[in-house]
Amino acid sequence: MARIDLNHIRHAYGPNPKSDKDYALREVHHSWEDGGAYALLGPSGCGKTTLLNIISGLIHPSHGQLLFNGQDVTNLSTQERNIAQVFQFPVIYDTMTVYDNLAFPLRNRGVPEAEIDRKVRETLEMIDLASWTNKKARGLTADQKQKISLGRGLVRSDVNAILFDEPLTVIDPHMKWVLRSQLKQLHQRFGYTMVYVTHDQTEALTFAQKVVVMYDGEIVQIGTPEELFERPKHTFVGYFIGSPGMNVMPVQLAGDTAQVGSHKIALPSPAMPADAKKIELGIRPEYIRLGREGMPVTIAKVEDIGRHKIVRTKLENQDIAVIVAEGESIPADPHIAFDPKGINIYADSWRVGGN
């Protein structure tokens, strides 16, 4: 297991990158703790798979350094880095048996047969394929195949890190939960450093201790699920995480009040952004109360999703989503009020203040 340092890493796929636009990965400078479970979360094309492949050595970064336990591994090959990676679509050696598939990475490294046998059987037990040991891998279903891919990643115990590239895409929803909690258990038991790429926020939030949110080739925030929810550092994190996402509206600041259209909102503490072009206020739908007090709104739509209702309202020209408990009624003359605890202020999309 290793601590991973990403030292000013930048990557462009084309030759001679000139502007920031040419970089798939703009600049990543972070340290990931030994034994941590990280999830890389972001929309498609934000650079998360690029970052993962840089760590595994499948891609050599254009700039920057990668350190495992303080040792520079930037120029080492994938084999020499000794990491495991599980891909989005199952990769199996279909002429081999299930057993041989799992034994393959060990045999390639000259591990003694007795040790291989012990490890493979243990892993097969873990991924619940023990009864398939001597079957040909070819005839398996997609999620069984993906389990084999997972198994090949888990079978080596001496790896520096295990990387997952959206590994549960092809697995059906029920199995997803099972496998995800198994991975989490494994992490707790063996303390692997795990990096898990996904675009599914539930998956990221349930799997990881720290979620790394990426947007447009940059890491915008690293934090615990709670931090991401309560204090999104960037407006993108605000609306990417949460369902529905955070309400973000342009405001004018004056001391400790913010003005939305013609309404004034008291801020918990005065925020003084230097000279930003764009000031916004962000508040999650969970922190807005719909009632008879506050700012008058019109209701555009009510979505009843069972647990609660999502009320789509309009405050002057601003769309605002509000979450209302299932039992509560919606008043005929609706008003909304912001809970000061949930207010965040953003200058040019980055958080500058709030609660």
């Binding site: 994938t78 084999q79 990676q85 891909f87 050696y93 081999m96 393959f104 390639n108």
Partner: protein, 288 residues
């Protein structure tokens, strides 16, 4: 809607049936017809029964032509299949090299067969041919017109030059269909170059290789034009393969009966051997 039940649909198949009848069934039946009769010209035919078949199956000449042909097919398969795989593995996967390589590879396949024969016939000549002259000046007494070994060498080299590309193109098609993730996973798993070939590339090429082996076997077993142009079946009978022999009997000696009988035996041998190849390779495939 009411369903109509009648046999009119057969009319839809009729054009195809006619086409197959005229292109395959009727000519084949003519041959069958010849094979069981004897003729002395004048369009007079006499029933001969299985006489020609017995004669062909017992003839020394047929046996030796069959043996030569089997050896020839075996040698060219043994060279072209591995060579084709090696070339395909080393061809570029992207960039400008791809179209260049593909065009170069396709060139020999586009040349008419008798032109291929002529090219090699000239190529091997000691007086003006590049190959013949070079060998001569290296002190090798090369003469494909008189030395059976040299004749075989020339014919095999020609076939390898002409047909290896086909194997290459088929294998290449198999190789490019392998997703990148497989190679990446192999790197992660620490697989050697050999293991990548054995467990990723070869299994993916399996199907195209089966086609390549079948096509090359059938083609080489029926080879006629190229050796006919280069050696004419000689020296002596050393490069007289089955189809060259067949033409000699049918056109040269005008023995229609024996020639027809031989055609049928020849056809059955190809069918049988192709079936054997196919069964072995698909069974092996299923077993794994």
């Amino acid at each position: 809607m009411e369903k109509t039940w009648n046999n009119k649909a057969w009319f839809m198949v009729l054009p195809m049936l006619l086409l197959v009848a005229f292109s395959a069934v009727i000519p084949l039946m003519t041959v069958v017809n010849y094979s069981v009769q004897d003729t002395f010209g004048n369009n007079q035919f006499f029933w001969a029964g299985t006489e020609w078949f017995t004669e062909i199956l017992q003839s020394e000449r047929f046996h030796s032509a069959l043996f030569r042909n089997l050896v020839f097919s075996f040698i060219i398969l043994a060279i072209e299949i591995p060579l084709g795989i090696i070339i395909a593995l080393n061809m570029p996967r992207k960039g400008l090299g791809v179209p260049v390589c593909l065009v170069l590879m396709a060139l020999p396949l586009l040349i008419p067969w008798n032109v291929v024969g002529t090219i090699w016939q000239v190529f091997g000549r000691v007086d003006i041919g590049l190959l013949g002259h070079t060998l001569e000046s290296l002190g090798i007494n090369y003469n494909y017109v008189q030395n059976p070994l040299h004749a075989w060498f020339t014919v095999i080299l020609m076939d390898v030059w002409h047909w290896t590309s086909l194997v290459v193109l088929l294998c290449y098609a198999g190789l490019v269909s392998i997703p990148d993730a497989f190679y990446q996973a192999a790197k992660i798993d620490g697989a050697s170059r050999w293991a990548v070939f054995r467990y990723i590339q070869l299994p993916k090429m399996n199907r195209v290789l089966l086609i390549a082996v079948l096509l090359r076997f059938m083609d080489s077993f029926m080879i006629y034009t190229e050796p006919f142009v280069v050696t004419g079946g000689g020296p002596g009978n050393s490069t007289t393969f089955l189809s060259i022999d067949l033409v000699k009997i049918a056109i040269g000696q005008f023995d229609l009966g024996p020639a027809a009988a031989m055609s049928i035996v020849y056809f059955l041998i190809i069918l049988l051997l192709s079936w054997v190849f196919y069964t072995i390779m698909t069974n092996y495939d299923a077993e794994r």
